[in-house]
């Protein structure tokens, strides 16, 4: 087990280095940062001085090394538009994204558990068809449309809820619900197929023969085992949440990380884009590492 964990941590580090190289290369491909930063009336000597000051006169490997050292120190550079440190901006925005996605994940997981398990138990009935219908529709409709529609109905027409922005609890309702709906289809599909497999197994049959109530068999014996395959999907689910955050925060003018990157893209603010992508990469890799270790812990066959 220890060997497995060490190997996986090592692999994660290697992947992280590769990603940082790609991000760094893209940063240099986006054009000369000195030209972007220097004021229009700067003389050639000024530009040279700025280049030296920023360390951009050094060789590319040296520049990469400096970039790595800065990132390790938490120095992610400066936003081209606002001139503020990127790390500070991210620190301000991150809590908003967490406040939005945690309840969304919780609600999404809860609803998809109920839908997925019910569909599996009632396989082939109209309930199963209805759940399948929701899943197919949810995967096909663009998420921004659902958000726009929700604003139109509940904020503009009925005026029950605010259209966008932050504030009291009522500001959370629409973004949280649309975001949880965003992850519903994929989770429901996964739970349903994993549940179908488990319901067909010997131990579920045994539990039934023992005379346990159907409720107990389904929600305790079967569900516990059906959840294990879901662990491997955690990485993909996380990617879905990040994508959802970018779109939904943009539509609802929610000042989180997702909207930050969307604004940075439109403003061609490369340092911010780069930092957010790096941050997400680190979190994605950590989630996957954690999931792999947990999975090996739960299912010993995985370990080398």
């Amino acid at each position: 087990m220890a060997r497995f964990i060490i190997i996986r941590i090592f692999q994660t580090l290697v992947t992280l280095i590769v990603i940082s190289m790609v991000v760094f290369a893209l940063a240099r491909a986006s054009g000369d940062p000195v030209m972007l930063m220097a004021p229009a009336q700067a003389s050639l000597a000024d530009i040279e001085a700025l280049r030296q000051y920023l360390g951009l006169d050094k060789s590319i490997p040296e520049q990469y090394w400096v970039f790595l050292k800065n990132v390790a120190k938490g120095d992610l550079g400066e936003s081209i538009r606002t001139r503020r440190p990127v790390a500070t901006i991210i620190g301000e925005r991150l809590p908003y994204t967490i406040q939005l996605s945690l309840p969304a994940i919780f609600i999404g997981l809860f609803v998809s558990l109920i839908l997925g398990v019910t569909a599996a138990v009632k396989r082939g009935t109209w309930i199963d068809t209805a759940v399948k219908f929701i899943a197919i529709l949810g995967q096909a409709l663009p998420s921004f449309w659902l958000a726009i529609l929700a604003i139109q109905i509940f904020a503009v027409s009925l005026q029950w809820l605010p259209t966008s922005g932050t504030g009291g609890l009522d500001h959370y309702i629409l973004p949280v619900l649309t975001m949880s709906f965003f992850m519903l289809p994929i989770m429901t599909r996964l739970i349903r197929s994993s549940m179908l497999e488990v319901l067909d197994s010997e131990y579920v049959k045994l539990a039934r023969i023992k005379g346990l109530s159907e409720m107990w068999v389904v929600w305790k014996h079967a569900l516990r085992n059906a959840i294990i395959p879901l662990l491997t999907a955690a990485g993909i689910t996380f990617a879905t949440i990040v994508t959802g955050a970018v779109i939904i925060e943009t539509v609802f003018a929610w000042p989180g990380i997702g909207r930050l990157i969307a604004e940075a893209v439109i403003g061609r603010d490369f340092p911010v884009t780069q930092a957010v992508v790096l941050l997400v990469a680190v979190v994605v890799l950590m989630v996957n590492l954690l999931v792999d270790i947990l999975y090996a812990y739960v299912d010993p066959r995985i370990r080398y």
Binding site: P142, V265, L285
Partner: protein
Amino acid sequence: MERVSFWKKIKKIWDSSRRLPIIPIIIMSVIIVCALFADLSWLGLPDIRLAPYEANEMSLGDRLTPPFFMPGGSTEHILGTDNIGRDILSRMIYGARVSLSVSVLVILIASVIGTILGMSAGYARGRTEAFIMRVTDAAMAFPALLIALLLAVSLGPSFSTVVLALSALSWAPFSRMMRGEVVRIREEDFVAQARITGASPARILIKHIFPNVVNTLVVMMTMSVGLVILIEASLSFLGAGVPATTPTWGSMASEGRDKIARGWWISLFPSLAIGLVVLSCNFLGDWIRDKMDPRLRQL
């Protein structure tokens, strides 16, 4: 007696219609015709067009005209106009071009890269496999939209940036699927025989293994079309898609976002088009899978 045979007839029609997904086929045909004949500028005939107006033609007198079935709407602009008087239907017909050409190109590129990587990994095994599969896993876990945004900023908005950005990660599912298939097939007797007769690994992969995985590949390609169209639309929606002079469904939905109280049709119809096309692609994909490779059925 009459009743029973009537219901049987209905059931028969229902069953046969389930065999062939007629509605998705019709929708996709309409979209393909729209994309091809929006205008014939690719044949040097920009004046002959299916779209009633040019994509960026403004008639400022007809700003925010509602669709024809609403009070105040007219059949001159069947789906209404936006806030600077551009015809929604025409722009949607032009928008079909971007969605279709981007998704076809991306899927071709992604499937070629994914197939080469996945097949090599599955055949070589050992370290090569471990390396390729780690890269694949990383690419699968990473949110495609973010990498696409990063590329869009660093390379600047253009058609080829969008194609490159979407291909950058879409190869991963192909790689994973192909590896799994090849790992299974390489143990078959006919592969061993080919090896004994001295065939090179490249020849074995192309001549002996590839014909056995091509069905799976085609199924995956069809099933991915909808996903790519969705990501392209999200990219356009966020303003990082093809340059704004070309109308796309995603950018139209985005333009109509803050005008939703005065003109809901501006973003409703393009979003609906995205939903319909993605739905049709998914149904077609399901159907092709059931025909060609039923093992892949999951739900």
